[in-house]
Structure formats: C-alpha cells, structure tokens
C-alpha cells in the first residue's frame, strides 16, 4: 500500500466505523463487532506506518493560500498514531464489556463519538502543519463532549461545561493566537525538522510565544489548566481510558512536544533558554498533582491527578530541550498510555464487578479479583518507573536529559515524584492483596469482571512489560 493511502486509511477507518455504528444501530452485536474489526485493521495500519520511512504526504485541500489541510507523518506523529491505533481496538473490546456490564444507555451514540474521537486523534498525530493540527484538536474536544456528559446527570452537565469551557477557551484564546503568530512571523505553518522559528523572532519574546502554546494546549493539563480532567471522571470508565490514555491528554502533550521539536526547535529553545520557566512549572505540576492525588480516596479521582502529574513529565521533557529528554518524553507518551489505560481498565472492572469506587473499601479485593489486581500492580509499577516495566526507561531518559542541560534540581523532582507515586499507587495494591477484607465484600470467592473486560486489561498490562524489552523500537532520535 502506498504511503498516502496508509495515511488515508488511518484517518478514514475510524470515520467508516462511526458511520457503520449508525447504520447498524439496531443490531448491537454487529455494531460492536465491526467497530472491533475496523479497530484491528486500524491498529495494523498504524503498525505498518510506524515501520515505514518518512516522506509520505497526503494533501486534502487548501482553505486559502498558505492554509492547507495536509498530513505528513514524522517519527513522533507515527508513534502517537501507533499508541492510539493499537489501544483503540483494546478499548473497544473493553467498552463493549463495560457498557453492557454496567447497564449504561445510548450505546450507539457512545460508540459513534468514540470512533470520531479516534479519527480526530489520528488527524492530530499525522498533521503536516499547525492549521491541520488545530482543526483536529478542536474536533477532538467537541467529539468527546457527548462522551463526558454521557450520563446526562446535572453533575455530568457541569463537568461537561468545565471540560468544554477550559479546553475551548484555552485553545481559541491562546493556542490559536500562537498559531497565527507563527504564521505572521514565519509566513508558514508547516512543521519542519529543527523548527521554523529561529531567525524570525527576537529571542526576548520566545518565552512568551512558548507560553501561548504551553497554556493554550489545555489538553496537556498543565497546572493551572488541569481542572477539566478530574471533572471529566464522572463519565463512564471507557471514556476515562480514552481521555487519559488513548487520545485526549496524549493529544495534548503530543502537541506540546511536536510544537517544541518541529516549530520552535529544541536547539533554538535550549540556546535561548526560553523554556527554562516551563521546566519549573512542569516540575511544580508533577509534584503538586501527586500530592493532591494522595488526598483523594476515590480511585478514579486519584488516577486522574496521577495523570496530571505524569503529563508533567512529558511537558518537562519538551521544556528540557535536549535530544535525550525529548526522546524520553516521546517514549513516556507510549509508556504512560499503556500503564494508565491498565489502571483505568482495572478501576472500571472493579466498579462493574463489585460497584466499588472508594479505595478504603477495596481492602482484600485483590484476593477476590486476582487477575485485575495483578494487572493493576503491573500498571502501577510502570507508572512509578520500576524495571522491568516501560516507565523505567522514560524516567531514566528524562533524568539523563536533565543532567545534559544542567538542571540538577529536576533530578530531585523526578525522584521525589517516583516516591510519591509509590505511596499513592502502592497503597491500592497493598490494600488489595494484604489488608483484612472490608465489610463491603460479601464473600472471599474469586469474582472477576466479565471476560471482555479482563482480557483487555491483561493485554495492556502485558504491553507495559513488553515495552520495557522492546524499547529500542520506541526511542526516537531528534538529533541535536
């Protein structure tokens, strides 16, 4: 298959799935089956594209002179497409199990917008210029809104308003301003290796321009723009998986990294010292979110703040502006995706099987749900950064990047953060396996969630493990 056809397939297959969801709305098994099948084909395409050399471009149309909708995969984008593409079928399988197990309504609407969101994520991943990226970024926001408010309760509506308010306002006010600023300054919006900004701007203004992107990309959930993410946890758990692992926040940090590497250029950022302030802000975000996570006893809330903290790693990698740190950040996109989706899958499985959401009630649950809790432990260890799990590599690379750039304090931040992760994620595992059973549990007999949910979470837990050993495939070289 020619390269541009492969890009077209990655963009088109999710759209096809969403259309078929509508067509097959009266036949639930067919509707969900085709989504799964198309998901698998998408995953295969993403893997195929990841293995290919760069250089393919798919041009769709031109809005006006200099404003093209076009797609040019580069290593980072292909990695994100791979993450979204591979996790989509897994998440679809899980969604089917969850939606039926938890008795949620409006499956068709849910599956429809889920597939649209994947389409948007692919558009962001493969975008060849800032305009295309922005268009799909907004599409992702609007297509996930019906998912966040899926339950239709007043609480869900309020969460929806926060979600949309923060994401749309930040992107329209700051991100779009930054994009047009780049357009006026450099007369182009195309991404280029090494960046396009050097020589077009007084270095004094670079930190300000960077701020437009760092805060404009609300999906990266950098503090203080993180409020939408915990609010959105009212949504069904498959949405949390989509938000936290497959598409939304990953699209955010991916955009930050992509802009740092292909618009600003990491060498330009490092030489001008323009991203130093972002190093400190990201460090603050990492630690503060971890501390907030410790205070939460609702499992999904704790995981949400853990995500905010972990996203800080990726922003930090971009801000450190060395090749090693950027590679580490890119790797962390994949590592965190595999780890965090496992944790959310487990949270959903616990809810469906035992209707528990509070960590304090999960004492002894590990003996009732051994598979789920083993997977949870693996995911947690990956997030903490313990070998032989994927998260270990990305943390080491980030530390190396911090050393390269002389930011010794960042080393302390990363170590402290690992310690905090250990405390708030380890607590859940320890309670599950070793604490005396709490009163909420009716029996000690093994009672797992349906197979459609257990299978995906085992798969993703194994991915965390596999990523550790196959890491050289996922280390991107950004030169410099």
């Amino acid at each position: 298959m020619a390269g541009d056809m492969l890009i077209l397939a990655l963009l088109g297959l999710p759209l096809l799935a969403s259309a078929l969801v509508l067509v097959l709305r009266d036949k639930p098994n067919l509707r969900d089956g085709q989504a799964l099948l198309i998901g698998l084909i998408t995953a295969a395409c993403a893997i195929e594209l990841y293995g290919r050399a760069d250089g393919d471009t798919l041009f769709i149309l031109s809005l006006a002179v200099g404003l093209d909708i076009s797609f040019t995969p580069e290593p980072l984008g292909k990695l994100f497409a791979l993450v979204a593409g591979v996790l989509w079928p897994v998440a679809t399988l899980y969604t089917v199990g969850y939606m039926r197990g938890a008795g949620e309504e409006n499956h068709t609407r849910f599956m429809f917008f889920y597939a649209i969101a994947i389409h948007a994520a692919m558009g962001i991943a493969l975008s060849g210029n800032l305009l295309t990226l922005f268009v799909f970024y907004e599409l992702l926001t609007f297509s996930t809104y019906p998912l966040v408010t899926h339950k239709g309760t007043p609480e869900a509506m309020r969460a929806g308003r926060i979600y949309l308010g923060i994401l749309v306002a930040s992107s329209v006010i700051l991100l779009l301003l930054g994009v047009i600023g780049i357009w006026v300054l450099t007369s182009t919006l195309d991404f280029a290796t090494g960046g396009i900004l050097a020589g077009h701007i007084d270095p004094f203004y670079v930190p300000l321009l960077l701020a437009l992107f760092a805060f404009g990309i609300g999906k990266a959930a950098l503090m203080p723009l993180h409020r939408w993410l915990p609010a959105a946890m009212v949504a069904p758990t498959p949405v949390s998986a989509l938000l936290h692992a497959v598409a939304v926040v990953k699209a955010g940090v991916f955009t930050v990294l992509k802009v740092a590497v292909y618009v600003f250029g990491i060498d330009f950022l490092r030489e001008t010292g323009s991203s130093d302030w972002l190093v400190w802000l990201a460090s603050f975000s990492i630690l503060a979110a971890s501390i907030v996570a410790m205070s939460k006893t609702n499992l999904k809330a704790r995981l949400a703040y853990s995500t905010i903290s972990q996203l800080g790693y990726i922003v930090l990698g971009a801000a450190l502006a060395t090749s090693l740190a950027a590679s580490g950040a890119a790797l962390h996109i994949a590592a965190h995706a595999a780890g965090k989706i496992t944790l959310f899958f487990c949270a959903g499985a616990i809810y469906v099987a035992h209707h528990l959401t509070d960590i304090k009630e999960m004492n002894g649950l590990g003996r009732v749900m051994p598979v789920t809790f083993t997977a949870f432990a693996l995911g947690a260890l990956s997030i903490i950064g313990v070998p032989p799990l994927a998260g270990a590599w990305s943390k080491i690379m980030l530390m190396g990047g911090a050393l390269d750039n002389g930011h010794l304090a960042v080393l302390a931040v990363l170590m402290l953060s690992s310690l905090l992760n250990l405390v708030y994620l380890g607590e859940i595992v320890l309670r599950g396996f070793f604490a005396a059973p709490s009163h909420g549990l009716k029996s000690e007999a093994v009672q797992e969630a349906p197979l459609t949910m257990v299978l995906p979470l085992c798969l993703t837990a194994l991915m965390s493990l596999a990523l550790f050993f196959a890491v050289d495939v996922f280390i991107l070289d950004f030169g410099g």
Binding site: L63, V65, F134, L139, F142, L164, L174
Partner: protein
Amino acid sequence: MMQHLPILQVLLPLLGAPLAALLRGRDMAWGLALLLTGAAFLISIILFSQQQMTGETLVYDLGGWPAPIGIVYVIDAASALVLPVISGIAFVATIAARRLVEAEIDARDHALFYAAWLLTIAGMLGQVTTGDAFNIFVFLEISSLSAYALVAMGAGRDRRALPAAFNYLILGTVGATFYVIGLGLLYMLTGTLNLMDLSERLADVQSTRAAFTALAFIALGLFLKMALFPLHFWLVPAYAHAPSAVSALMAATATKVSVYVLIRLVFGVFGIDFPGLADAVGLLVLTLGIAGAFVGTLAAILETDLKKLFAQSSIAQLGYMAIGIGAMSATGLAAAFIHLFNHALMKAALFLAIGAIAAQVGRASMGTIQGAGRQIPLTMTAILVGGLALIGVPLTAGFISKLYLVRALLEQDFWLLAALTFISSALALAYVWKIIEAAWLKERPKGAPVLVETPVHYVPAWLMVIATIGFGIFASPLVDAAYAAAHVFIGGAR
C-alpha cells in the same frame, strides 16, 4: 444589454416596488419579489465574475453623461464582492418570507410589505453600486425609510415594534443627517460629489480643519448606521420586534452596507494618508470595535430571547469588522470584507431558523426551544452551526474571519488586542452553549406546543448553513476577492 447590468441591478427592485404595491391576490407580490431578487442575484453574480476575470473597474454613465457631470455606477473589486452578498441573501430571505409573512402579517398588507421589501433591497444595492456621494445618501434614505416601515409592520403581533421602529427612525435620521452635513462640507471644499473626483481634489485641501470636520461627521453618521458601539441602541429592539423575515434580511445585510460605505468613503475618498486618519480615527475605531465585541457578547449571554440574543451578538460581530477597519492595513480591510461576507451568511442562517420557530409560536426564546432538538432537528442544527460559526470553530466561515482578522492585528504587532479579540469570541461559547443545552440536553416540557418543520421551514436556513460551511472549507475565492477589494483602497502585498 450586458453593459446595462450595473443599473439594472438597482433598477429592477426599485421599479418593482410600486408594481408590487398594486398587485392583489395571493402570492402575486411575493412572486414578483422573488423574481426580481432572483434577477438581481443573477446580475450580481455575472458582474462579480466579469470583474474577477478582467480585474478591471466597470464604470457605467447614467443617461450617457460621463463623470463628473453625470452620476456614475462603479463596479470594482469591492462593490462586486458586496453586491452578491446583499442580493443573494435578499433572494433567500424572499424564499423564506412567503411562509413567515403569511404567519406574521395581515393579508391586506402583503402587497405593501413586499413593496417596502423591494425598496429597501434596491436602496442597499444602490448604495454599493453608485460612485456618487450624494447618490449614496439618496439610496441610504430609500433603504432606511422602507426599513422603518418594515420594522413597524411587526406591530400586528408585537406592539413593541412601534417604539422600536420610531427609535430606529430617529437615530437613523440623525445618522443620515450627519453624513449629509459632512458631505456638504466636502462639496463646499471641492465643488464635486463624484467619489473619484472628490478624492483627487481633496488632496489639495486635506490639511484644512473643514476637511477633518467633514471626515468626523461622515464617519460618525456611518458609525450610527452600522451600529458601532456605543451607537448601537437602535439595533436590538428593531431586529427583535420586526417581522421574522425582516429580522433575517436586515441582520444579514443592513449594517453591512454601512460598513461598506464607511470603507468606501474613508479609504476611497479621504485615503489612508489623510492627516489624522490612521492614528486618530484608526485608534477610535479599534477601541470602539473591541469594546463593542465585549459589550455585545456579554449582553448576548444574559439574553433569553433568541432574536435579541443574536442581535446583541451582531453588535459584537460589527465590532470585529470595525477592528479590521481600524487595523488600517490591506490585510485588515480584507479581514473586514471577509467577515462582512461570512457574518452575513451566518446571521442569515440563524435568523431564518429562528424565524421558522417564531412564526409558529410567536416568540423564540430559551423556553420555547427547550428540548426542541429532537422535535425539529434540522432547524436546531442550523442554529447550532450558525452559533459555532459565530464562535469561530474551524471549518466554518467564522474561523476564516478570525484567522485573517487576528493576522491583520499581529502584522501591526497588536498582540494584546488580538488576545482580547479571541477572548471575546471564546465568550461567545457561553451563549451558544446555553442554546445547545436548552435544545438538546433538556427534556421538552409537558404541554409545550409541538413544533414542526417542513422543507419550507428549514430549506432557506440550510442554504445559508451550507454556504457557511462551504466558505469555511473552500475559502480561497473569498479570500482572494477580499484582498482584491482591500487593494482598491490600500496598496500593499498580500
């Protein structure tokens, strides 16, 4: 025949008006209006494509008298762009008017309604086409006087239409008077009323106090007519209480014509190099524009009546056009033209869809549309798309407007102003989302009247919706035409 098109464009609706007043019998007057607006639309499309292909300015001497003795009609890149906006929306609004007018206006008045309808359209087309400053005043009065009558016709259902029309009349007349005072000063200084002549002769006297006073009077008069903040108070009641068809026509076109005349006079006659223009007037227009953007948007957020809500939003959108003008650059003017065009499409879509609801239940408010998303999905989707375009969501026409508007500001290094522009447009999300939540996320109350939609209800609005999306995706021709229009007044590279 072909060389007479510039005058036919204006003459057809103008002469059709008295004829329409004489017609009796169901739908006769409407049929005539439809025919004539359709013809005007066709002519403007031909003129536009002719102008685009040749790139030349087409000058038509009225009665065979060349300028400066006779009056000339001028089709250049700017007027060629604005004409199809007005005639096209007039045509679509006329399609919709049949249903709306039947529902809202007493059958005895239909003939008179369409007479006034055609007159106001003729007046607007005349203002755009003519190359004579006094002729602009004449057409401005033709379109305004008939518009006052049209607004007042809303009194059959809503008595508040009468004070609204009266207010509109008083303030509209003040605006027109200011314009004509300014014109008097110019005539005294130069002895001519032809726009081209004026601009040439004004160069000799441009540093006089009288010339600047003339600029001030003309600009102020037109600010009032285009409802620039804080001279916008006539607009909201006039749009809200007018018959639905009139709201749709006027919201989409009336103020746009005044924006066009402002650009034509300020840049075409006084010129960008006129002393005090770029700094004093530019700064004033920028300030009022951004203030209007905030005031209009905030007022819209508080509004529950949909016509009033979108009328307030028009204040904000006119603010954006003013910002484009105030940037005092080719890109700025191009952005103003792009937004003039795009906003006309969005507002027509919105007011036509709202009209379809108002014609059934008397008033379109947050209450009457509650839970209507499933009952009248196509109508509500038209409102949704129109609303998203107002925010400036990508792949709608509004996005292209914002893109070029902010580009114009950044080219002049107005970063803060650009940020403010975006903040105000992000605030628009609040009022659009209020509608979406009411229509889709709430249940229809028990006992609420059943709303219906048939093709007569939604086709006119959807024509505009398709245009809104179409020009959001294939914006190239519009952007090119807008830059060509801007270059009529200000030189410079793209």
